[in-house]
């Protein structure tokens, strides 16, 4: 219905455009970022933990309902309803089920799966309890979502003689946190320990579930070498394709590459090179409540080519939908941001009645805004999408089941 037509209109609008060559850079920007008085300085040895709960929503369900244990639990809309999956237990993941997948698809992949409706309040309550555990170790906590946080433990290990020793001396704290989560909350977490947020996140993801991975400073370059470029947060499918087309498949390839990365990924090249060498000087964002989520693409070459813009919008929509899902939130405001060749920047937004959660809906509304206000009036340097007015994704009012309606979360 409206979906498709809007898309067609936006497509038509973008279709008139042409350009030679482009590449996309994606970067998710989170704000606001408030420096904390206790933030670590460069003189100290930094020790950052990334704590990631294992299949959080599904694990809470399995804990609270013993009959679900050892079974494929799928949290989200029922398989006969429109909507998406919020989380899947490890048993369900074996069937290829992952978050943000349409429930109908999940139903087909895993027909005997136990589909449960999310109990957001329970998860939020659980999240608060887990964050309270972290607070016993450090006041420097960046809660990324209900089930994920960065902890800065640098001040606990300053007697250490070198960066690796600082990291190793923090290991007992990581074990302690895992154990407390297990005994007090009867849930498991994976922790990554590194000298910055990037390494800590790579670490928590390295051995899941119930993992603990330390990436020493002296070994980080070797550690990263075999990993896919896609492991770098901010490298989405489009950027990854650009890199892979240039022969850069692994982080090691980027380390070795003499290619001018700028031509591939634009202004993001320097950060990409830093990440490839395990460097990241971002400080923790200590603001608790997420107020908005946004994503931006800076094009290596200014472009008004319809396909490139569509691809960028789709990728950003997917990123944002995923972040929304991780935060168990929906958005009532969707905004697009456009920067032209002369750096003039325009934003436009629309307010919707039902909270937006699905990537397709974010994409549809972004296209609507671009078309409504004829924003692609020339080559774009940057294109961005932001969502705000975050609320519970629950919509009580059911919608008529028109074919092609994809809006229900």
């Amino acid at each position: 219905m409206g979906n498709e037509d809007n898309q067609t209109r936006a497509d038509f609008f973008l279709y008139k455009l042409f350009a030679k060559h482009t590449s996309l850079v994606s970067s998710q920007s989170f704000h606001p970022r408030i420096p904390h008085p206790l933030s670590t300085t460069s003189r100290m040895h930094r020790v950052i933990f990334h704590v990631d709960m294992d299949a959080f929503f599904a694990s809470v369900e399995q804990r609270d309902f013993p009959q679900y244990r050892g079974k494929p639990v799928i949290v989200g809309s029922a398989p006969d309803k429109r909507g998406v999956i919020c989380a899947a237990s490890y048993e369900a993941r074996r069937f290829g089920i992952h978050s943000a997948m349409p429930s109908r698809t999940a139903g087909k992949l895993c027909p005997h799966g136990i589909f449960v409706r999310p109990r957001m309040e329970a998860y939020r309550e659980e999240s608060r309890a887990i964050m309270a555990i972290f607070e016993a170790y450090t006041p420097l906590i960046q809660q990324v979502s209900v089930d994920e946080a960065y902890l800065d433990l640098s001040s606990c290990v300053q007697k250490a003689s070198g960066p690796d020793e600082a990291l190793r001396s923090a290991l007992p704290l990581a074990r302690d946190i895992k154990e407390r989560i297990q005994t007090e909350r009867r849930l498991t977490a994976s922790i990554g320990v590194g000298a910055n947020k990037f390494l800590a996140k790579i670490g928590s993801d390295f051995q899941k579930p119930n993992g603990l991975t330390l990436i020493p400073e002296s070994e980080k370059i070797m550690f990263l070498r075999p990993l896919s470029v896609r492991t770098i947060h901010g490298v989405g499918p489009v950027t990854a394709q650009q890199l892979e087309a240039a022969g850069l498949r692994t982080i090691g390839d980027i380390q070795n590459s003499k290619l001018p990365l700028e031509t591939l990924v634009g202004s993001w090249a320097e950060r990409l090179r830093q990440r490839a060498f395990g460097e990241d000087d971002r400080s923790l964002d200590l603001e608790r409540e997420r107020k908005s989520i946004s994503a931006e693409h800076t094009f290596a070459v200014d472009t008004e080519e319809r396909q490139v813009l569509r691809a960028a919008l789709k990728e950003m929509s997917a990123d944002i939908a995923q972040t929304l899902a991780r935060n168990a939130a929906g958005a009532l405001t969707v905004q697009v941001k456009v920067r032209y060749r002369d750096f003039s920047t325009v934003t436009r937004q629309v307010r919707v009645q039902d909270p937006v959660t699905a990537a397709a809906e974010i994409y549809r509304l972004s296209c609507h805004l671009l078309a409504r206000d004829k924003l692609v009036s020339g080559a774009l340097r940057l294109l961005g999408i932001g969502v705000s007015t975050l609320v519970e994704p629950w919509v009580a009012q059911m919608r008529l089941a028109f074919a092609g309606e994809k809006t229900e979360g």
């Binding site: 919707v352 009580a396 008529l400 074919a403």
Partner: protein
């Protein structure tokens, strides 16, 4: 240009056309009404480039010609004049001198040739409709039109001419109103068009309880002739969703309700439906319907009305506004509410070809 016309006729002509003029116009001339004086007739025309209206009134025309004058201001002046003849003369600089007894106004206008041309309707499909039927159908459906600007195909009413019937449909994705009218037309004229909300509002104002009207449909425009007034509009581009697929084919329970009684009960109970959930529950038990609502920490409301109900006990929740809208629009003493279960759409029906599909609300 020079003419004389009675105050009442002039005012009614201006009031017929002034509504489509938007208060914020991109082109100054769009705030004006074009006035054309011909033999014994005045033609008034306004447009916002999407919707346009033109109408004809009788007048004593002493000198032919045309001009455009700010319509809101002009109508405001005419409204304040005493009963009697109004004499208007417009000079070559488009300055209008208006006289009524001892009253004199001078109003600056803009040249008529700068006014956008009014669309022609040649080579189009023509349908003859009954004004009363169209007025009635608009009343029974238009409240369900979507106001969501991002779903612009729903920002209007579908006019579907098929099988000697005109089906008019409005939906906002949560409820859907539909009326069928019998209309004669050749099969080759079968067509589906979406008439935008603004045009629907004008059409509702223009139609009367008697007489015929004509509807003209071209590639991307529509026109309605009602008496001497013509309303034209762009059509909404795009395809209307397939409304047939959301109309339930199954009826498990049919409840007959006294419309006014039910309407006032829902209205009373809705006074305590919370802003957040904004729902009322219909609790069906043997031969009883209880309507209930509550707002945490504020209070609750309940009202029972006797009904003939022999089905399984059922509780279904609706947005009270969505439930009341058709009840307000229908003239019938009795309405039927067809239900399947608490998660399936309900349907409001009457004896004539009308239906209203309403999606329930989930109860958390």
């Amino acid at each position: 240009m020079r003419f004389s016309v009675s105050k009442d006729i002039l005012l009614s002509g201006l009031q017929t056309v002034q509504n489509v003029v938007s208060s914020r116009t991109t082109l100054p001339i769009l705030a004006n009404v074009r006035i054309q004086a011909e033999e014994g007739k005045l033609r008034f025309t306004t447009t916002d480039l999407d919707v346009g209206v033109t109408c004809i009134t009788d007048a004593v025309v002493e000198r032919h010609g045309g001009t455009t004058l700010p319509v809101k201001r002009l109508a405001g002046i005419i409204r304040e004049l005493p009963q009697g003849e109004v004499h208007i003369e417009v000079d070559s600089k488009n300055i209008a001198s208006l006289k009524c007894g001892q009253i004199f106004f001078k109003i600056h206008g803009l040249p008529a040739d700068e006014f956008p041309p009014f669309p022609e309707f040649e080579d189009c499909k023509v349908f003859t409709l009954k004004q009363s039927e169209v007025k009635d159908a608009l009343r029974k459906t238009s409240y369900a039109i979507s106001t969501d600007e991002t779903r612009y195909v729903l920002n209007g009413i579908l006019f579907s001419f098929k099988d000697s019937r005109l089906t008019m449909v409005a939906t906002d994705g949560r409820r859907l109103g539909l009326v069928d009218l019998e209309v004669e037309f050749p099969q080759s004229d079968e067509t589906d068009v979406i008439v935008p909300t603004k045009c629907i509002n004008e059409l509702t104002r223009l139609t009367n309880d008697a007489g015929e009207m004509k509807m003209y449909i071209s590639q991307n425009q529509v026109a309605f002739d009602v008496g001497t007034t013509r309303l034209v509009s762009k059509l909404v581009e795009g395809n209307y969703p397939n409304y047939r697929q959301v109309i339930p084919t199954e009826v498990r329970e049919r409840v007959t309700l006294e419309r006014e009684l039910f309407l006032s009960a829902v209205h009373r109970v809705s006074l305590l439906s919370s802003e957040k959930s904004n729902s009322v529950k219909l609790v069906f038990t043997k031969n009883n319907l209880e309507i209930a609502s509550n707002t945490p920490d504020v209070g609750e409301a309940k009202e029972s009305i006797p009904v003939v109900y022999k089905g399984v006990d059922m509780t279904i929740a609706f947005n009270p506004e969505y439930l009341m809208a058709p009840l307000r629009a229908l003239p019938n003493d009795e309405v039927y509410l067809d239900l399947i279960d608490e998660m399936s759409p309900g349907v409001v029906k009457i004896q004539s070809p009308f239906l209203y599909v309403i999606m329930p609300m989930r109860v958390s």
